[in-house]
């Protein structure tokens, strides 16, 4: 776990600090603590920015951890805008920060339907 992580699993709090799984985060492999929500695991592995606001592009990260703030939105296994504090972590998950709005046409994976974007995705942090 990176040394500047905001959170970590604590043995004193009964966490199994040795138990980790590997996921892919923004294309790179990442070791995260096992046995929690995706959001909790990423926070404990040093992830600080989860998404950009689709309104202004500013960085956002989890706030409530219980599913009422919608700040923890991530793309998980290809599905965008999932509330990651409500998703159980599984080994091998492909996780991406939710940068900008989802792109339905790209998701449909059909090159014939790709459309030049007239709305730019907001710039990230």
């Amino acid at each position: 776990m990176p040394t500047d992580s905001l959170f970590q699993p604590l043995a004193q709090a009964g966490a199994h600090t040795a138990k980790t799984v590997t996921v892919t985060f923004n294309g790179e492999p990442l070791q995260v603590p096992a046995g929690s929500s995706v959001a909790a695991a990423l926070l404990a592995a040093g992830v600080k920015r989860f998404r950009n606001s689709p309104v202004s592009g500013v960085a956002r990260a989890p706030y409530c951890m219980m599913g009422v703030c919608f700040e923890c939105l991530l793309e998980i296994d290809g599905e965008p805008n999932r509330q990651s504090c409500l998703v159980a972590l599984e080994a091998g998950m492909s996780i991406r920060t939710q940068d900008g709005m989802r792109d339905l046409l790209a998701e449909s994976h059909d090159p014939a339907t790709a459309l030049t974007q007239t709305m730019e995705a907001p710039h990230g942090v």
């Binding site: 689709p54 599905e79 965008p80 805008n81 900008g100 709005m101 989802r102 792109d103 339905l104 046409l105 790209a106 998701e107 449909s108 014939a112 339907t113 790709a114 459309l115 974007q117 007239t118 709305m119 995705a121």
Partner: protein, 381 residues
């Protein structure tokens, strides 16, 4: 406090929704002194539940005046949008790239073609439209699903941001000195003869020589006291709103549009359920189903909100514009296409209320037509 409001108005407009605000704005631009009375936060407010289409195609089938009136308004819309931008700095995001109404079978296609052709014939050819098959549509609407067989397209159609429109109208009215009173329901309008003309008093407080009923569903009751006839009833429409996405749809379509902010709206229904603006799962589900059939890419779209709103519906579905024969100076203005007709309301109806001659197009929209037992209109829908 029961003293008559000493602020002398030329016109009192009852109702601060899209119709009332647009009429007030037009009046204020003419230099009239306007008092605009509006209800509170929990009112039914058809204007809050608005799809945002500035829509021409298909309207006025069986009532040519309505096709003309609608076309006129769409043509005037850029002028309204510019005026609002100039007055308030609010861009209502008017876009008029043309619009599509999709068909899902040959029968539907033929029905649609027939309808559009009839209107074109009635208007002497002055009504551009194309019937397109899948291949032609896909070039402009790449996300089209395989169930869609074709569409009718006209360059006359467009859309705007209806919430920004309402906000802009409010701001513009204030800027032009309209006396806006909110939280005020108007149930009592009385009339006195004064020097050969009428003087109208609303709720015992506001007085003016002219009064405009733009109170939506409330017009029905108010109209009778003023020698007008506006038998409007509620008609519910339900709409689904999806999350913001990158742009996937460049054109407005009858049942799906993508707003300037990127959210996706799907509608709508027409239900006669009285004064009930709740949403129901069965209707929402069928709206969802049609949305996914039209654009399969929307299947994974997350829904953020659903709402229901009550349209103000006359018996034939067409507007009612009338000056009271019994009490000249009293007007009723009501329709269920408050966005499309906003330009006509501001730029043609308002001058009429202010004393100009009545626009030719709206002679067919007197409320009295419903008192004629022989009146058998083709219904608007």
């Amino acid at each position: 406090m029961n003293n008559i409001n000493s602020n002398t108005s030329d016109v009192i407009v009852i109702g601060g929704g899209l119709v009332g605000s647009a009429v007030s704005y037009g009046l204020a631009r003419q230099g009239a002194r306007v008092t605009l009375l509006d209800e509170g936060d929990q009112a039914f407010r058809a204007s809050r539940g608005n799809f945002g289409l500035v829509w021409v195609q298909g309207k006025g089938y069986g009532m040519t005046s309505y096709a003309r009136w609608t076309r006129l308004s769409a043509g005037l819309w850029p002028q309204l949008a510019q005026a609002l931008l100039d007055d308030t700095g609010v861009d209502v995001h008017l876009q008029q790239p043309g619009g599509f109404c999709f068909t899902f079978s040959d029968e539907e296609m033929e029905e649609r073609r027939h309808r559009m052709q009839s209107i074109q014939d009635e208007l002497g050819g002055d009504y551009p439209f194309e019937m397109l098959d899948r291949q032609d549509v896909i070039a402009r609407v790449p996300a089209l699903g395989p169930a869609v067989t074709g569409a009718s397209y006209t360059p006359m159609d467009g859309h705007t941001n209806p919430l920004k429109l309402l906000r802009a109208l409010h701001a513009a009215n204030l800027k032009r000195g309209v006396n806006y009173i909110s939280g005020q329901s108007a149930k009592n309008v009385s009339t006195q003869a004064r020097a050969g003309a009428s003087l109208f008093t609303v709720e015992g407080r506001w007085q003016a020589p002219r009064v405009v009923l733009a109170a939506g569903l409330g017009n029905r009751a108010l109209a009778e006291a003023l020698g007008l006839h506006a038998p409007v009833v509620p008609n519910r429409g339900q709409v689904l709103v999806g999350e913001r996405t990158a742009r996937f749809l460049d054109y407005p379509t009858l049942n799906v549009r993508q707003t300037d902010e990127g959210t996706i709206q799907l509608g709508d229904s027409m239900e006669e359920v009285g004064f009930n603006d709740n949403v129901t799962t069965d209707v929402l589900a069928s709206i969802a189903q049609r949305g996914v059939r039209t654009f399969p890419v929307l299947a994974g779209l997350r829904l953020v909100r659903a709402w229901g709103a009550l349209r103000v519906m006359s018996p034939d579905g067409f507007p009612i514009y009338q000056e009271s024969p019994k009490y000249p100076g009293a007007f009723v203005t009501t329709c269920h296409s408050g966005v499309t007709l906003a330009a006509a309301h501001a730029l043609r109806v308002a001058p009429w209320i202010n004393g100009a001659s009545r626009p030719n197009e709206i002679g067919a929209f007197q409320g009295d037509r419903f008192l004629n037992p022989n009146y058998r209109p083709a219904h608007a829908h």
